[in-house]
């Protein structure tokens, strides 16, 4: 049997490394104990309550930042648009407070003039981007206010809720929209607005041109005939020059106002129903 001889070199090296490791371990343990940064566990818990898609609709850098702002800077608890009522409930339950949820808002493209209805005066052969096209005078659509359908809004949407239809018109799917408002800023023609989800009556036109001019380039453009404003008694629809505008702060109960529009610019859509289906 061979005698168990361990050379000195092995012993020394094991000892040195072992002791060094031990020392470092102790240092780390001490650092962890005395230099620890106190993380507010409430922030982490609140972040869990938020949807976690970091869309930035609340105005903060992301969900974690918003949670921190609620705890540290007393930010309002109802800023999260994608989360809506559910998130608000979860936050309130955690913080033990009560808050009223505002109505969920969804984006709406205020143009109904797709390629079959709105005239094109030229063919566009350039960068497929609305902002780039607008800088050189548009995409050839005769209406200078209408949707160009080159998809700048669809590309910026964090949840792919905007579809460019085959007829080159941007359409928002209300069920998918999280209400972050990124598309509102992206549209170079300011066609997209945020509207309360329950509203059914919409005017899909933003052309401020006079009626005869609008008629020349679009079959569904607002001609400023004033009929809808009279029908609702100036409650919910007002005139802005030659353009009828829905005032979303006043709900319109009677959807038959859409029938008064000679151009079919007014559409009736039930956002809630579309969501359920």
């Amino acid at each position: 049997m061979l005698p168990l001889i361990v050379p000195l070199a092995i012993i020394t090296s094991t000892a040195v490394i072992g002791l060094t490791g031990l020392g470092c371990g102790l240092l780390l343990a001490m650092a962890a104990r005395f230099l620890a940064v106190r993380e507010d566990e409430r922030i982490e818990a609140l972040t869990e309550c938020l949807p976690g898609i970091n869309c930035g609709a609340c105005g903060m850098a992301g969900c974690g930042d918003y949670a921190r702002a609620i705890i540290e800077d007393d930010a309002p608890v109802n800023l999260c648009k994608p989360g809506g009522e559910e998130t608000l409930k979860a936050i309130c339950a955690y913080l033990g407070i009560e808050a009223q949820a505002g109505e969920r808002e969804v984006a709406l493209v205020c143009c109904g003039g797709h390629n079959g209805l709105a005239k094109h005066q030229a063919t566009y052969n350039g960068i497929a981007d609305c902002i780039a096209a607008e800088r050189i005078g548009g995409d050839g659509k005769a209406c200078p206010f209408g949707c160009m359908g080159l998809g700048s809004c669809a590309r910026i949407c964090p949840v792919n809720a905007i579809e460019i239809t085959e007829q080159r018109l941007a359409a928002v799917h209300p069920a998918l929209c999280i209400g972050c408002g990124a598309c509102v800023k992206a549209c170079p023609r300011n066609l997209i607005g945020m509207v309360p989800e329950s509203r059914k009556v919409h005017i899909l036109c933003r052309s401020t041109d006079r009626g005869p001019v609008v008629r020349k380039y679009c079959e569904v453009g607002c001609i400023g005939c004033n009929r809808c404003v009279k029908a609702v008694g100036k409650k919910g629809i007002t005139m802005d020059g030659a353009l009828a505008v829905v005032d979303y702060t006043v709900p319109i109960e009677d959807v038959s106002v859409a029938e008064t529009c000679p151009q079919s610019t007014i559409v009736v859509r039930d956002g809630r129903k579309e969501n359920a289906s």
Partner: protein, 453 residues
């Protein structure tokens, strides 16, 4: 007076098919007075002019319709006598919407009270002369539309030693400048004399491309009586030889620094049309109400050089030229390289409109733009020695740091890169788009700086 070849050759340079023979020998004909005139208030660089007239007002020819809305802006005058029909927003020849005055001509073409103004003697006060140029609403008629009175009043520390008259006309199809040089050489001499006395410039160079021998001859004859350091410079035909910075280099060998102006290297460039307008304003007291332009293209029945009133609708011009031979697929305001697609034929001629080009279907191609294949042709042809390939990719990626590092703001949008690109990339649109975005960002940055300080 001497005639010699230009001593320098600018970078890049293309040789497109010029198609100038369509109208090169056609004498300029005055177009009959149209019944309706559409006058844009944004015909120049800088702030659009502010309207001075109201609907249903009667105006005489030469009466100011709009006043400048800033230092870099210009007066706009009634091109004929008549009645103001409307002031509203419409498509203009510049390819975008702007405020437009629509007026109906009464057919009398009566001058307004006090017009034409009395001529100013050549020894009149300098300021008086420059004020007259400003009041005549003269802007750069080569295409950029920079107000001429601003150009003619450089700060005192910038001495101008060379006046360059731009008769290069390197854009294919256009022959308006060529015809002006052939037909109006004497008046051009008056204009040159006026401008050089005004600035006290010792040297005058008239730059003409070698594909216009008739213009060279006419100018030689007319200018032989002019004393001092006057030379006709014959340039080799190449695009964009007539671009301001390229022309200065070809003629003097001086390079305008990045972000600088021609006055930084002691030069001033005036287009032939602008020089004639200055002569008209000072010697005959006429405000700028008409210009010479070329109506051309293979789809037009009778291409012609026309003297038209500012505001003449383009459909009237087409009608005058015998209508279209074949249906045009593309209608361009200006030349094919730098012109803009015309959004509406009801728009009117601007002070900067050098041509109307109707291209038939077989010369217009629709391209599917592809990824850059890194062949470097655009780099070879860029007259500003930029790297358009990198700039267009940076534009797509919105990488503004890279764009500024690669000097996108030096791009003159001549379109040489797009012309040679085998991947058919919309280079010029990329450049315009990126430049506009960077300008926007810079303005915002400045605003925040002002707010914080």
């Amino acid at each position: 007076m001497k005639t010699r070849a230009a001593p320098y050759r600018c970078a890049g340079g293309l040789h497109p098919v010029y198609h100038k023979s369509l109208t090169a020998a056609a004498a300029t004909i005055p177009l009959e007075l149209p019944s309706t005139l559409v006058i844009s208030l944004a015909q120049h660089l800088g702030a659009p002019a502010r309207p001075l007239v109201k609907k249903n007002e009667t105006v005489g020819r030469g009466q100011p319709l709009a006043e400048p809305a800033g230092f870099i802006s210009a007066w706009i005058h009634a091109p004929t006598s008549g009645k103001i029909k409307a002031i509203d927003e419409q498509w203009t020849a510049a390819g975008r919407r702007a405020t437009v005055i629509t007026m109906e001509s009464d057919g009398e073409d009566r001058w307004a009270d006090g017009y034409p103004q009395p001529p100013l003697p050549a020894d009149a006060d300098r300021k008086q002369q420059i004020d007259r140029v400003a009041a005549a609403g003269i802007v750069g008629m080569g295409g950029a539309g920079f107000p001429t009175h601003v150009k003619l009043s450089p700060p005192p520390e910038k001495a101008i030693d060379t006046l360059i008259i731009n008769g290069a006309e390197c854009e294919p199809y256009l022959t308006a400048d060529q015809r002006m040089m052939v037909e109006d050489a004497d008046r051009l001499r008056q204009g040159i004399d006026r401008i050089r006395r005004l600035l006290g410039t010792p040297a005058v160079r008239i730059a003409i491309e070698d594909n216009k021998p008739d213009a060279v001859k006419a100018i030689q004859q007319a200018l032989s009586s002019l004393d001092g350091d006057v030379e006709v410079m014959v340039l080799p035909s190449a695009y964009p030889q007539g671009a301001e910075k390229q022309l200065i280099y070809s003629v003097t060998g001086r390079e305008v620094p990045s972000g600088g102006l021609p006055m930084d290297v002691g030069t001033l460039v005036e287009n032939v049309g602008t020089t004639l307008a200055v002569a008209d304003a000072l010697d005959s007291g006429l405000p700028l109400t008409e210009r010479v332009m070329t109506a051309t293209g293979d789809a037009l029945s009778q291409p012609a050089n026309l003297r038209v009133r500012i505001g003449t609708p383009f459909d009237k011009i087409i009608e005058h030229c015998g209508g279209t031979k074949t249906p045009p697929a593309k209608v361009v305001c200006g030349g094919p390289m730098m012109g803009t697609a015309l959004p509406s034929l009801a728009a009117g001629v601007c002070k900067t409109t050098s041509g109307l080009l109707l291209m038939p279907q077989d010369t217009v191609h629709f391209f599917e733009s592809m990824a850059c294949i890194r062949c470097g042709r655009c780099v070879n042809y860029c007259p500003m020695r930029l790297m358009p390939c990198t700039l267009s990719e940076g534009g797509e990626a919105e990488d503004d740091e890279l764009l500024e590092e690669y000097r996108i703001l030096d791009c003159i949008e001549c379109g040489s890169c797009a012309y040679v690109c085998p991947a058919h990339r919309p280079m010029v649109q990329h450049m315009k788009n990126s430049k506009a975005r960077i300008a926007l960002i810079r303005r915002e940055r400045e605003l925040t700086k002002q707010r914080t300080s």
